[in-house]
């Protein structure tokens, strides 16, 4: 099973669970199965801005995005972009 790791805020919103196992074929399917899917993905089903995802060390925005295939031993790291103190308001 692939493993999806969440940052602290999303983990809390997922009921305190930081890691999720997934047998999804693609990153998009794995994220859509999470209880925090609507915090990772926007209403168009795209990755939210300032949410970055690395699959086995590679930033998916430079690659296949949500279509990135997952292997049985893939490590998916969801992180919040380092926005340098940019205010949310």
């Amino acid at each position: 099973m692939a493993v999806v790791k969440l940052p602290a805020l999303l983990a809390r919103e997922a009921g305190g669970q930081r890691e999720f196992e997934s047998d999804a074929a693609t990153l998009g399917d794995a994220l859509r199965a999470l209880p925090v899917r609507n915090l990772c993905l926007d209403e168009h089903g795209e990755l939210r801005r300032l949410v970055n995802v690395f699959v086995d060390g590679d930033d998916v925005r430079g690659g296949a995005g949500l279509e990135t295939p997952l292997r049985a031993d893939s490590k998916v790291l969801v992180v919040t972009a380092i926005a340098g103190g940019q205010s949310s308001r």
Partner: protein
């Protein structure tokens, strides 16, 4: 039941529980840490808390049915998939006249929920308003920040969007008509346009719902015909035409309170004298209320960061970007600091608290 002040901050929600005199305040929180709470209310119909919560990725809404111990997040909230716009932020939650809830957001969008905030439907008539191409975002984004429901007829709504202006509906949001005649937009080629005004706050007086008060980027206004026409009031003794905060007295439609700021360029108290200005004659004259407020302060107060409680006498509350909450339990005659050193205050609301 006592009075509580719900204080939304850049870093979570705080609840100030007042004693019987509304002089001493017990600080609870922060709740919803990790989220900027642009606005929070306690729905008087069922006691549920709702918060417009924003994080690094966007905006959502949280609900609590146990006074903030546990929170649930909206399951469906967003703009239609076949459109170009996406929801950038959530700004204001308002109970409707029946079971419904209204939610304002950026980019100038309105949502309705009929299931206690689990799912939200975008209001088509605002989303596709014929004047939308003349709307523009202000410094705080294109926020729909004011939602007023007529207490006598829940189909009569008045909203404010910055910088699009005031809009009103008589049919529960099926259609919206601009209500900006006579309000200025000095930053546009036509200074008195149909839409495009930067309304900072618009309020309907609950006892006289045809009377509207407005603090705008360009002036303070009153309307006695539900926004068909507006009278400008800031020449009548206010130190500035600029500001955000606006408070009312539910027992007197002629009374209103503003907290002026020096100018759009310098958004702090005029002459560094933090003061609340009160009119009791429908805006013909204004007096400075300063008893208990700091003599020197370089602070600003945001558009959602003031409220009243409607008790006798009326309690008034506002929060500063420096993290203080100032309170008056005597209609503004005297003020005390109810909390300090909070994160920057984004919103203040009052609630009856068990």
């Amino acid at each position: 039941m006592g009075v509580a002040v719900l204080v939304g901050t850049r870093k979570g929600l705080f609840v100030l529980e007042g004693d019987a005199e509304r002089r001493k305040w017990k600080l609870n929180g922060p709740l919803l840490t990790g989220f900027a709470v642009y606005h929070a209310i306690r729905d008087p119909r069922d006691g549920a808390l709702y918060a417009a919560t924003n994080f690094f990725g966007g905006g959502t809404v949280h609900r609590s049915s146990d006074n903030g111990e546990n929170w649930e997040r909206a399951e469906e909230l967003g703009l239609p998939e076949d459109g170009e716009l996406k929801l950038n932020a959530t700004w204001h939650v308002e109970p409707g006249g029946n079971g419904e809830l209204w939610l304002g957001g950026d980019p100038g969008v309105l949502f309705r929920s009929d299931d206690q905030g689990v799912t939200w439907q975008a209001n088509d008539a605002i989303l596709n308003h014929e004047t939308r191409d003349r709307w523009a975002p202000g410094a705080g984004g294109m926020c729909l920040h004011s939602i007023n429901v007529d207490p006598n007829d829940p189909k009569r709504l008045v909203i404010g969007i910055s910088a699009a202006g005031v809009f009103r509906s008589d049919d529960g949001g099926e259609s919206w008509e601009p209500a900006n005649k006579g309000t200025a937009a000095d930053f546009l080629p036509d200074p008195l346009p149909e839409v495009g005004q930067c309304v900072h706050k618009v309020l309907v007086h609950p006892a006289q719902p045809d009377r509207l008060w407005q603090q705008n980027h360009c002036g303070v206004y009153r309307s006695d015909d539900r926004g068909t026409s507006w009278e400008r009031l800031d020449g009548n003794g206010l130190p500035s035409d600029f500001g955000f905060a606006l408070m009312l007295d539910p027992s007197d439609p002629d009374t209103a309170f503003t907290i002026p700021e020096e100018s759009a360029m310098n958004r702090v108290a005029p002459n560094n004298r933090l003061g609340v200005y009160r009119t009791r004659d429908a805006g013909s004259s204004w007096e400075l209320l300063k008893n208990g407020l700091p003599q020197q302060a370089w602070v600003g107060v945001l558009r959602e960061a003031s409220a009243w409680d409607g008790q006798q006498p009326n309690g008034l509350y506002f929060g500063t970007q420096t993290g203080s909450v100032l309170a008056s339990s005597d209609g503004g005659e005297s003020w005390h600091e109810a909390a300090r050193w909070l994160p920057p205050v984004l919103s203040v609301e009052t609630a009856e608290w068990p």
